[in-house]
Amino acid sequence: MAATPKLKAQIAMDDTKFQRTLRRVKTGAVATGATIGRAFKGAAAGVASFTAALAPVAAVMAPIVAIVGTFRGLKGALDLGGELSDLEARTGVAAGELRVLQRAFQDSGVSGDKVGQTLNKFQKSINDLGNGLSTQKRAFDALGLSFNDLQKLTPENQFKEVQKRIASLEDPTKRAGVAMDIFGRSGAELLTLFSDEGALDRAAESIGGQADILAKNAALFDRISDNLKGTGDTLRGFFVGLASGVAPQLIELLERVRTLDLSRIGQAVGNAISVFIEAFQQGRLGELVALSLKVGFGNAINFFKAKMVEAVAAISDAIKATLKLDFDEARGFLADLVSDDLEESRKKLDDLVQEMLKSAQKEVPEIAPPTWDTSGAGEAGRTIGKAFADGVEKGMSDEDADLQRRAEAKAAAQFLGRRSGLDALRILQLKQGSQSRGAGGDPTSLIPEVGVVSGFGRSIPSRLANILDPSRTGLLMTGGRETSQLQALGMPDRYRDLQNTELKVKPDPAIRESANILADINNKLDG
């Protein structure tokens, strides 16, 4: 008889691992959504039209905006270097390793700002261990580590070793106890990190080459960051002077632009990505569902790839058209600008500003400040507004068919009597999986239902509210008493029948408001 079982099964309701993975994916999706949202907010679909129509204004503004935007990113990197350099002095851990730890903390749902505090507490615990304090001794004994062992390691390796040993403890109660003995109350917050042995390695992978660059240049970045703070006033002076000349002409345009909320496009894109990622994640519940979602996810990626390529091309064209510089050349120029000699950098910056002003006057000689010709600005503003409105409307149309299916699936979920979308998801996935297997049907035909329901969490109705167009019929916005509403509509009691049922519209106030704003803008532009 064999010593090990040849066929075995473990049955449990514990889905901790599943939930942990889901949480990580959600965090990533939110971050990705926000990033894309910001990118679209700046670019949007109408960037090209905007720039072409506003050539006179853009000739002056775009180079400045582009340079300032790039500077802002550069300054962010320098500030990060400065912050890590200060933290390195506080903890003795190399700047590159600190960046990895920050990322690992963020992945585990803890703020990256807590790295310094946690490391200091950890070092105090090691010191207490050396002094023979009983609590620390008990905790480190449980991990099989002595003071001498730890002394031989660098600070970052001390942390890594302890993290690995805590992760290897099987009993979760003991794990929590040891973590809190060593790291104090923040040990409890870090349990997610401690229960995952590979967390630091993954964080290091995602940070990539940044860690090395920061390790080498953190001190230099710190110096530059501190000195750059002094240049803010110089730049501010320039903008004050510029604003006094063009303010009256720009006010009308800015008023119009202010009423356009482009962040909604970004939010829509972010939501769509998160929906697909969640759908993919949930697909783990069944092999067939996973197969279907692979196809759906691939389509989503292709869709976003195409959109991003469009946006990047539009930005690039806009910069090229206005700056009259090759992008690489501009990057090289910026790299050159931030030289080791800070005095020289400041001088170069001054020269750049002068150069830009000269360039603007050269481009538009007939409208040199302060006698600014506004004849083209009104027309340009109309064109911009129209372009943005078209872009927004187009975005809605593209999403429409899919959204209708989502609304129907949501209705189905609600009709089955579930408060939580997750329950409905599980039931529908299981049902779809078994039906398809039994009938030997095409799994890809299940994508709309499965993919859509997967994305429905508690916040989905509000997400839909942000992007649905109330003027379209056939959409259902469900609220708190959807079950009775559906019964009032005479809904059949099987999910598959819902697809052929016409649902009524119940617009959310947020949609109505956004639609009114758009209609108002369109009316003004047409009028």
């Binding site: 079982p5 066929l7 473990q10 449990a12 889905d15 089955l416 079950t483």
Partner: protein, 229 residues
């Protein structure tokens, strides 16, 4: 050595989550109940034991006579070939040559007819053994049910030894609640035997049944509290 095979229970896990919300039953009770129904079956669910079928004689013969088998176990093929072609001198003499030393016949076999009869008996024995293997697997599951305290009805007395094991789900405070069961029979994980498929099918059937039940219960609750009533 046959590798150990873990059966995927994610689908049942998801079903149990839904079931627990619909019924408010204790987690330990749900898990233990799931094991019993998965193995023995229940209303509307065919369990793994009943799904582990005895093989048909013809299927076993086909398998043993297939090319792959004959390459690794030629002797068995000859035995079965001899049974199928009872009285065939060629098959019998081949077996005879392979089982004699220096021209001396094995045992007390004197004639070709005796030899053929002997070969036929051997073939019958092999067939019986293979058919019994399904019963052996079923006995492994029954042993697991007894071992885990889910059932008192064990396998037939002829199946002895450690052929199955089970661990009942119990509430151990902060520790995770789970039940485990397994089959020690050496060929249990072999794809050709089909025991793994039977177990997987039973798990899926159990999951579907739980979801169906939970769905009905949730629907009842929803209708009960509906504003339209």
């Amino acid at each position: 050595m046959t590798p150990t095979m873990d059966i995927d229970t994610k689908e049942l896990q998801a079903a149990m989550q839904i079931y627990s919300r619909a019924t408010r039953k204790d987690e330990v009770e749900i898990v233990n109940r799931a094991v019993i129904v998965t193995l023995t079956g229940g209303k509307g669910v065919v369990g793994a034991i009943r799904r582990t079928k005895k093989a048909e004689t013809r299927a076993i013969e086909d398998k043993l006579n297939s090319t792959g088998w004959s390459k690794t176990k030629p002797k068995l093929k000859w035995v079965l070939g001899a049974k199928k072609l009872a009285g065939s001198g060629r098959i019998a003499s081949t077996y005879y040559k392979r089982n004699t030393k220096g021209g001396k016949k094995a045992g007390d076999i004197k004639t070709n007819n005796e030899w053929t009869a002997r070969v036929a008996r051997e073939g019958e024995k092999i067939l019986r053994r293979r058919k019994a293997s399904a019963a052996y697997l079923q006995a492994g599951w029954k042993k697991a049910l007894v071992d885990g305290g889910w059932s008192t009805k064990g396998p037939a007395k002829k199946f002895k030894g450690r052929i199955g094991y089970g661990t009942r789900a119990v509430d151990r405070g902060s520790r995770p609640i789970f039940a485990e069961f397994g089959n020690y029979i050496s060929y249990a994980a072999k794809p050709s035997i089909g025991a793994a498929i039977a177990l997987q099918q039973a798990l899926k059937a159990q999951a579907r049944d739980m979801v169906k039940y939970a769905e009905r219960k949730m629907g009842e609750t929803a209708r009960k509290y509906s504003a339209k009533r």
